[in-house]
């Protein structure tokens, strides 16, 4: 009897599972941390900046929608290029106010860009590498003059978060300012709670889409030190919207409440590739690179390494965000992504890398072909993928091994070109231009020993340079498509790097408390909360139940 009383007391005393108030959306903050530091500076996204700063507080001129490939008008309603394509006129939305009630005008836009020019560390998008000047002919028009015709610059220019001149003009050092009480134009700007491990941001009373949107009252964040804790809260129903990797999500999340729990992982993020150092024998030979690729069983990698969350890459290396650029001819010609050990063997024989008596092929200098496939320790999906690769390479007579490095050591080696074979990522770009520039341009290819943030395989092609240059200078969609498809064919012919699979963009939601999330059936925008500023598209559409 006494025990039951004690139990009852204990149960009554214990804290009930904390559920957020109605209308308060719990979002998983992308920065995994045990404690939050109050910093809402939207200009230095690479600092330790809280999620709302760039996702719900400060808004850009247009929001790029990675799912549809459209630029959604946001603080600007439209744009026109001048006839010589060096000038861009942007029409600003009228009636937009900062969260202190002051109207937003073109002066704020000009001020923002001038701030980036003054403090170059804030120019993360490299806007001033192609922009000459930004003026405001009137309160609702902004004119941007380019240094040269540079079409890919549009993306970087219009996605810049705009800050308020009347606040930021008095800030001595905007690079280190933590902007504790933001004045912004976005849907959620009012920081009402800020504790070490939890904070909440309420609706902006002056938001320009009110009274229709947003319907959500506030957004709330909890600190999670690692994926496991975040996933735990998601599965348990404490988080409404999340964007981190969840293993076996069908079973552990969707399966728990099939009606409300959903995930959507479209393969539109940067890809994962095996990089072969083209400046090192024998990987400079295109036949060798194609043979390596044919030795790899991508279906198995996707199943074993990636829980089936993505698809095997095609030979153009493009992800699903670039579907509209895809040349079916190039995809068909890229048969070197098919697992075909027999053909791989033939190609390697042809390249003169014959097997020795021990069954291992010999390199041109007569030594056994031994190679390490490098991978950062702790990237478990990559490690599993590499195990599949190594097995495939051994089948075609290469004495391959996996070698894991501490992340920083791995990153150092791949950037300076010290590796022979290594797994690596590719950056996500809005158009294939950026991807192919990273893969084949002489501007990104550096010598071995010189650190390079892209083009780790160190491949360049003068034809690619011409095509990329032409792409920079065209605003015509038909010409852009033709040039891009020629780049695709060039990539397929040369196999500069060996694509494995496009990266999925993680996104999961729980519709028990809110509806209106995008998913496969309603693909109005990507589901991931980790897109700056793409999350605005979703945040403004959600409706509390």
């Amino acid at each position: 009897m006494r025990w039951t009383i004690l139990l009852a007391v204990l149960c009554a005393a214990c804290a009930p599972r904390s559920r957020a108030e109605p209308g308060v959306l719990v979002v998983e903050e992308k920065e995994q941390t045990a404690s939050f530091i109050r910093n809402f500076n939207p200009l230095l996204e690479v600092g330790d900046v809280r999620w709302p700063a760039t996702h719900s507080m400060y808004e850009p001129l247009f929001v790029y929608n990675w799912e549809t490939g459209e630029y959604v008008p946001w603080l600007a309603t439209g744009y026109r290029w001048t006839p010589d394509h060096r000038g861009l006129r942007l029409d600003l939305r009228t009636g937009v106010k900062w969260s202190d009630g002051t109207p937003m005008t073109s002066k704020d836009v000009v001020f923002t860009f001038e701030l980036l020019a003054k403090f170059r560390a804030l120019d993360l998008r490299g806007v001033w590498s192609f922009v000459e000047k930004v003026d405001a002919p009137d309160d609702h028009t902004v004119d941007v003059t380019f240094k040269r015709v540079y079409a890919p610059g549009f993306y970087y220019l219009v996605q810049q978060p705009i800050v308020a001149e009347h606040v930021w003009k008095d800030v001595a050092d905007p690079v280190t300012w933590d902007n504790p009480n933001p004045i912004a134009t976005g849907p959620f700007t009012e920081v009402t709670t800020f504790e070490t491990q939890v904070y909440q941001v309420d609706r902006n009373p002056y938001y320009w889409q009110l009274p229709d949107r947003p319907r959500v009252k506030a957004i709330k964040f909890m600190a999670f030190p690692s994926n496991d804790q975040a996933n735990f809260a998601l599965v348990d129903g404490e988080v409404d919207w999340a964007g981190s990797f969840v293993p076996a999500i069908d079973r552990i999340f969707d399966g728990r409440d099939p009606e409300h729990h959903k995930h959507w992982f479209p393969p539109i993020d940067g890809g994962v590739l095996m990089y072969a150092n083209t400046k090192r024998a024998p990987y400079g030979d295109v036949r060798v690179r194609k043979a390596l690729s044919m030795a790899i069983d991508r279906e198995l990698i996707v199943a074993v390494g990636m829980y089936g969350y993505t698809r095997p890459a095609d030979a153009t290396g493009l992800n699903d965000a670039h579907k509209r650029y895809l040349d079916p001819g190039a995809v068909a010609a890229g048969d070197w992504v098919k697992h075909d050990p027999a053909r791989a063997n033939r190609l390697l024989d042809e390249a003169g890398l014959l097997r020795g008596s021990d069954g291992v092929r010999r390199l041109p200098d007569g030594s056994r072909w031994e190679v390490d496939v490098e991978v950062p320790a702790g990237f478990t999906d990559w490690v599993r993928s590499t195990q599949v690769i190594v097995r495939g390479l051994r089948e075609v007579g290469i004495d391959a091994d996996m070698k894991t490095y501490d992340f920083n050591a791995w990153y150092d080696r791949i950037q300076s070109g010290e590796f022979a074979l290594s797994l690596g990522w590719s950056e996500p770009y809005p158009t294939p231009y950026g991807f192919y520039r990273a893969m084949m341009s002489s501007e990104t290819a550096r010598a071995i020993g010189e650190s390079s943030p892209e083009n780790w395989h160190r491949f360049s092609s003068s034809r690619a340079d011409e095509l990329l240059r032409a792409l920079e200078e065209t605003l015509d969609p038909a010409t852009e498509l033709a040039l891009t498809q020629e780049l695709e064919r060039l990539f397929v012919d040369n196999a500069p790097a060996i694509p494995l699979f496009p990266g999925p963009l993680w996104g999961a939601y729980n519709s028990e408390r809110f509806t209106g999330f995008p998913d496969e059936a309603h693909p109005y925008a990507p589901l991931s909360p980790n897109l700056e500023p793409g999350a605005l598209l979703v945040l403004t559409r959600l409706v509390p139940r």
Partner: protein
């Protein structure tokens, strides 16, 4: 007090050595902090922006000696610099978010674990082959052999998740109250106590058994003293000496954090910060954490030395 003066001099040298090591060790790690930073944000910024960022984050190409010089100056003035992974927050502010909680949680847990373990050790040695002596040591050895994080996850799953008795994360709930803080600390603290009490108990039990064989214990019994007085004043006080030294060491480990416990329970603390700092090659933060940890170890040991002098008259008379 010559003994204490000598110890003090020793601690000063040790402090200098640890300050220097805190400077050297991070720089021996492979990789470049600026690149590590860029890697964390790949996809978020144009590779071309990295140069101007390096400048903003204060990555310089100064020689190691001049870096060391300015580092020493800053340490002496208490300025630990700006964290890279939490840019632009100051290292001091970053450490402050976790320090109090680590001190609270692990400090509390270690003291409880020490007191409990030592007491049980005394009792089980005193009542050899009693029920405590027969059941608890094997049980604690069994529990202590579990990996720390595994025990933490098990407790979290059973009591936090399945039964719902305790909160499953964080140091306090939406409201900052004593009750909230205590319920949140209960499970992590119990994990640490379970995992560490066993070794205190065994150590204490073993020394105690040795002490109980001494002649003065027999004498005390013969004098007709109360058994409890013999147990605590005669036997335990002497058996405690080696254990006290161990306690000084353990207090130091407190600050390095029961890292895994903190992560499993999403508890704010030094342990998590340290992992984060090492992972992102955040030199200033690593240095700051090393410093707080080593200073804590040294401070705790100094304290233990003082207690030792009080407990053991032989240490007082060292100079005579």
């Amino acid at each position: 007090m010559k003994y204490l003066a000598r110890r003090l001099a020793f601690y000063l040298v040790a402090a200098w050595a640890s300050i220097t090591l805190a400077f050297i060790i991070p720089r021996l790690m492979p990789g470049d902090p600026a690149q590590a930073l860029f890697a964390r944000f790949h996809g978020k910024l144009k590779p071309e922006a990295i140069e101007s960022l390096k400048e903003a984050f204060g990555f310089t190409h100064e020689s190691l000696w001049s870096q060391y010089g300015s580092y020493l100056r800053h340490v002496l003035t208490g300025d630990l610099g700006v964290s890279v992974s939490y840019f632009p927050a100051k290292v001091g502010d970053v450490i402050a978010t976790g320090l109090v909680w680590t001190l609270f949680l692990t400090g509390f847990a270690v003291v409880i674990s020490y007191a409990l373990g030592t007491f049980l050790g005394i009792v089980s040695a005193w009542r050899r082959r009693g029920w405590i002596d027969r059941t608890l040591p094997p049980l604690f050895v069994f529990l202590g052999a579990f990996p720390f994080f595994w025990l933490a996850m098990l407790l979290l799953f059973v009591f936090g998740y399945t039964l719902g008795w305790t909160p499953v994360r964080h140091a306090y709930g939406d409201d900052f109250t004593v009750w909230s803080v205590l319920t949140h600390a209960a499970l992590p603290a119990i994990t640490i106590v379970i995992a560490t009490a066993g070794s205190w108990m065994l150590d204490m039990r073993n020394t105690m058994i040795g002490v109980l064989g001494e002649d003065y214990i027999t004498l005390a019994h013969a004098k007709g003293l109360h058994p409890r007085r013999v147990m605590l004043r005669y036997a335990a006080r002497n058996a405690l000496l080696p254990n006290i030294t161990g306690f000084g060491m353990a207090l130091g480990f407190v600050l390095s954090g029961s890292l895994l416990t903190e992560i499993v329970f999403s508890y704010p603390g030094q342990g998590y910060l340290l992992i984060q700092a090492v992972h992102s090659l955040d030199y200033p933060l690593i240095q700051g954490l090393f410093l707080t940890i080593t200073m804590a170890v040294l401070g705790a040991n100094l304290l233990v030395d003082c207690v030792y002098v009080w407990l053991d008259p032989r240490a007082r008379g060292g100079a005579k």
